[in-house]
């Protein structure tokens, strides 16, 4: 479906319902033979976006030569108007009568088992980097614009000319890392493809015009793929000059429109000047602008860079954390064609496995609702990262868990104030029993740590296999996600006499359960406030994000906690136990009186 936009997604793996708005083409794509007569008579001329504005198109157009379907469409935003009809020339010119200026948009509802997200990437806008003069000098262009100029299907039929005077440039400069690998103006990550794209472009110029002098200004050249080093060597052998240093300024000579580029060559430690006919800015890649909207539609999490986050970087690199959703291409990170095709193949294969199975295995660890306790408050539905819980708050219909969509993080169970949700295999009773066992003997000598399965516990594993030492006083309780750790577990641990309690999970943005650890952080904030109100030092509850690769950090944190433990006095522990026991009894008494009141009201 072309010209289409996803408006709504609901459901879960195996049963997604997707609402798509297909915008009107105003030309029947099945009838159109792409004869082009409508475009010939169209009086509206606008810059051609595909040719980067180097040529023009009509309001009736085919976006690019290989567009599918091979049929014209009308850009109604540019058309002279259909209400009332102001021009109508295309309608008269169309022999097959396939133009309908009143064609409406279509809303299509699809029922699909899996979703593959392959929405591509955007390109960094270099207008903010004023020192390169992109907005001021006509002969400063981007790599995308250069691509159209050198392309046989481009506006110049592949003849390289510079925009100001249509003359073949004899001295061309490429500036690398424009908008990439910078903390200030641009993105901190490497865009992956720019170095090899420039190497390829330099060879293309040398093939067309062997006498052209080409200068590539770079900070590092990254030629790490198969055959890439060979291509770079060929480029150097062809006479392309590689200069290590990013230019500080590009200036223009007014009558000739030639450019002068000043750069500190870091290999010679000298400031050099280069006279060039044309400068190409090797712009980096970015997530598409509407990716945030799509991410919220599909419950996807995004990395700080804005790209979507995969379920596991090594073991499930094309899977979204939400089951049944896969990624292909630059939506996940900047990558070249080969990697995109590889990823697309993997995503298609992963989808086919699910679709051919015909049934989905649900997680053994999942939320189970006790409707007798459920008050239909809706908190569980609000905190579920997967949208796997539905509650009809108005109709007071209790929570329902979509088993296929539940991933088993346990955030709902931890946030439920009425103990109406139990996590299979990680029930409250099971975790409280572990706390009791851990603190049964000499609790004042122990540090109790709640660790998430995927990161912190794995970090502890790494510390172990790396033979890193950490104090023997630590006692670990593994939970699937730090989001599972209920406030009551921590208060109970303190009441049992724990001097220090650690709550540890994945780094924010790395959570195995999309963003469940955001709730962990909020809970820690609340708990620190509560402990302070109760007269307990909030420092005794520690929060640390430890990844599975941070064995050293795990060991350091544990050693730090042991130091803290030694500073907690027996008197302080006794006071804490008394305060928390009183607090728990008063809460229980409150709940009992509330129950009695509601029973009386029912009677």
């Amino acid at each position: 479906m072309t010209l289409s936009e996803v408006e709504e997604v609901s459901g879960h793996i195996g049963n997604f319902r997707v609402k798509v708005r297909q915008r009107a083409r105003y030309i029947d794509e099945k009838e159109c033979t792409a004869c082009g007569k409508c475009a010939e008579v169209c009086p509206v001329v606008v810059p051609d976006e595909f040719q980067q504005g180097f040529s023009s198109r009509k309001a009736t157009y085919i976006p690019y030569p290989q567009a599918v379907p091979s049929a014209y469409l009308i850009d109604m935003g540019r058309c002279l108007g259909n209400n009332p009809v102001a021009c109508d020339k295309c309608v008269d010119a169309c022999e097959k009568q396939c133009i309908d200026l009143n064609m409406p948009d279509k809303e299509v509802e699809l029922n699909v088992g899996v979703i593959i997200v392959a929405t591509g990437m955007g390109v960094y806008d270099p207008t903010v980097l004023d020192e390169y003069g992109y907005t001021r000098f006509e002969n400063v262009i981007t790599t995308l614009e250069f691509e159209r100029l050198i392309n046989a299907a481009g506006p110049t039929k592949g003849h390289l000319v510079r925009p100001s005077d249509r003359q073949t440039p004899r001295h061309v400069g490429f500036i690398q890392c424009v908008g990439s690998r910078t903390e200030n103006r641009g993105n901190p990550y490497c865009s992956n493809v720019c170095c090899m794209n420039t190497v390829k472009d330099s060879l293309l110029i040398k093939e067309h015009h062997p006498d052209t002098e080409i200068y590539v200004f770079y900070m590092d050249l990254r030629a790490f793929g198969k055959g890439f080093e060979d291509l770079l060597r060929r480029s150097k052998e062809a006479g392309v000059h590689y200069i290590r240093g990013l230019p500080g300024e590009v200036t223009e000579n007014h009558p000739t429109r030639d450019l002068c580029l000043r750069v500190e060559n870091t290999t010679t430690a000298r400031v050099e000047e280069y006279d060039l006919d044309m400068v190409v800015l090797s712009v980096g890649l970015e997530p598409t602008q509407d990716l945030k909207r799509l991410a919220s539609l599909l419950n996807l999490s995004q990395t700080p860079d804005g790209f979507v986050m995969e379920s596991h970087p090594k073991l499930r690199p094309v899977d979204a954390p939400t089951p049944g959703i896969f990624f292909a291409g630059c939506v996940e990170s900047p990558k070249d064609v080969k990697d995109s095709v590889t990823q697309a193949g993997a995503a298609a294969a992963r989808s086919a496995i699910l679709l051919n199975a015909g049934a989905v295995k649900s997680q053994a660890i999942k939320a189970v609702v006790d409707l007798a306790n459920c008050t239909s408050c809706g908190v569980c539905a609000r905190v579920c990262p997967y949208g796997a819980i539905t509650v009809d708050v108005k109709a007071k219909r209790g929570a329902e868990v979509v088993v296929a969509a539940c991933a088993g993080c346990g955030t709902c169970a931890a946030e439920c104030h009425f103990d109406a949700i139990a996590m299979q295999h990680f029930t409250d009773a099971q975790i409280l029993a572990q706390i009791n066992a851990a603190l049964e003997e000499e609790p004042e000598q122990k540090v109790l740590a709640f660790l998430c399965n995927w990161c912190s516990y794995a970090g502890g594993d790494l510390a172990g296999v790396s033979r890193l030492k950490y104090p023997a006083s630590t006692r670990f309780i593994r939970v699937m996600c730090s989001g599972r750790v209920d406030e009551s577990f921590i208060l109970w641990a303190f009441e049992k006499g724990a001097p220090v309690v650690l709550l540890s999970g994945c780094h924010l943005g790395d959570c195995h359960y999309i963003n469940a650890n955001h709730w962990t952080m909020r809970r820690a904030d609340k708990l620190w406030d509560r402990l302070e109100k109760l007269g307990i030092r909030p420092e005794r509850l520690q929060l640390e994000w430890i990844s599975s690769a941070e064995g050293t950090r795990f060991s350091q944190v544990m050693r730090g906690l042991e130091e803290m433990r030694r500073k907690v006095t027996p008197d302080e522990i006794r006071h804490t136990r008394k305060v928390l026991a009183d607090y728990r009894l008063s809460k229980e008494a409150e709940e009992t009186s509330e129950d009695k009141e509601s029973e009386a009201a029912e009677v």
Partner: protein, 43 residues
Amino acid sequence: MEQKLKCLRCGFEYTVRVEPNKAPRERVCPKCHSNSVRKISSK
């Protein structure tokens, strides 16, 4: 918006700029790199 924070490991207090509508960011003590960093209300 500015937010005052206190590290519950080393006691270091500092201020950061926060954007209310953005996803929460990891709080890391600039002194000891601990994540046990607590928001301090201005009251």
